[in-house]
Symmetry: D2
Subunit: 179 residues, 4 copies
């Protein structure tokens, strides 16, 4: 999860305050798996971001970020999608708040296999169909749209670190398009 590094502007939480809160409690996150769908709603492509992590490494990732105090989950989803996919993207946030899963990130990889070195995060995960033009913005270098079959190639899966390969499989299982 790389979201926080892009929240420096416009965020009312200083790095020190955020760190202090992280030391006390789990942090509420959202994960959004961007997809292209056909007329029948069937997933045809998955959007993968190529982005720099807070360590400066390049990683494939999904849209992910923190829910702010006072912010609705829907608004956090929209904000992070716009931040990562650009202002011309037209996300179709699901009508129901029921996530397809809850992802528990821990610094210790042995707890759930979902890893965030900085914090314990509890993330609501959604599949979000996106229309319109998507452009990498801010920290994202590239957005690649891959068919489910291509996204499940070993080359791609290995680039989805910290449990994100599993999150991809869970999202596609939910959509009924697991290869």
């Amino acid at each position: 999860m790389s979201a926080d590094m892009t929240e420096t502007q416009g965020n009312w939480l200083s790095p020190e305050d955020l760190q202090q809160a992280r030391d006390q409690m789990p942090v509420v996150y959202v994960d959004a798996i961007p997809v292209r769908v056909d007329d029948r709603g069937l997933v045809t492509e998955i959007g993968l971001l190529l982005a720099a992590t807070h360590d400066g490494d390049l990683r494939r990732m999904f849209v992910s970020g923190r829910v702010r105090k006072g912010e609705r989950v829907r608004d956090a989803l929209l904000r992070h999608i716009e931040k990562d996919l650009g202002p011309l993207a037209l996300p179709r946030v699901p009508a129901s708040p029921q996530p397809f899963t809850v992802v528990e990130y821990f610094p210790d990889p042995s707890v759930t296999g979902f890893v965030d070195e900085r914090q314990h995060a509890v993330s609501l995960a959604y599949v979000v169909p996106v229309d319109g033009e998507c452009r990498p913005s801010q920290h994202a270098l590239e957005i690649a749209w891959l068919t489910p079959l291509d996204a499940f190639s070993p080359d791609i899966l290995v680039e989805l670190a910290d449990g994100r390969d599993r999150l991809l499989r869970m999202a596609m299982a939910y959509c009924g398009v697991l290869p």
Copy 2:
């Protein structure tokens, strides 16, 4: 559920064959609750059809109909939505096949409270955001778009017979907009 009366054209199942199959097995149905959503996916309005039942009565109803042999559930959803809301409607069929509930219709109202006098039907129920222009087509006389609050007025609920008032409440509970 009024769908069958409109399936006379283009349906490869004669009334006799359909009746015979109904006598043997439960029938697979889909129910679609059409909604308008805002940019954040939040339901703002619910689409209610005013239609004539197979008995000639006027009833408020949702989009509902049979899944044909060989037809994908997604295609059945699209077909029934287009049939009821017209060709200019742009339905956003959910990316996941997971329905928000399964509705079991029986001729006997005491079994589940969901009633279909003609048959035992097992229906996969989905909330479907619809963009574009919706026009009543074929058997539907009118489409009314009501806010959740208006849709839950006693006047409207009483017109949603055979358990449809409960289906409306279940759909809005799922969307987190139960008044």
Copy 3:
């Protein structure tokens, strides 16, 4: 949500630290609706706690409480259920982490209708069948098991404050037993 008042013992977060974290971020919560089910899994009764709020008022409520740092969501569910229903209760925590809804509590009642005066909480809500003997423990004065029909009586609904009546209806909608 009354959970925090019972966390004084054994909680590694001082009231000051908790307050400080609450000032920065939304707090991760779980809500559990305890139910009795028959052999087929059908809900027959709903467990309602009568408990004192942090203001000293008596209120009907469900099991609810904070997820601690480092704690799995499942473990938080079990901990709060045991705290409220006693050590002889046998909860059947669902196999899937997918909640039936996400409840967003705010101090301001106008945001979602779910109210927590102390904080912004994002709560994962589950229906949890419970076997065994349930005894009110700690802050709970009484556990009443009501049929869905009885739980939906106006007398009871009015005692479910801060949006809990709506949470009850959402839970029963999910279980297909909305009266």
Copy 4:
């Protein structure tokens, strides 16, 4: 899906009538993935049946079978679980009718990858925790309880034909225990 071959006794549908109905409409099915769970509801083991197909081949499979006319989905689940796991099994059928997915079986493997040579079936799929003693009954030769990791070994996956390996992955994705 092997259920029908065991329904000869006590089934009020003759093979001819069943065939005739199958020729007209999709057939309503249920799939149940039996699991063992720990105190927190976490899946520890998956129950795999070794059974003879209607062709006489040996296959790994889950509990699966038809919903009869007039039968509730819950009752069909219980009936098929008891048939396959024996009368001492204690299944915990979920409180909600919402399935984790809908499986569409077709004779043609190219449609969805879920194959039933005999029919078009629309199956509601549930994960069902089972307590008590499970004994293979009727057509099942053996029940093997495997950890998720063992169940995902290539040796086992290859024995789960007709899309059942994918159903297993979908069920474990839903439960958050995808290896």
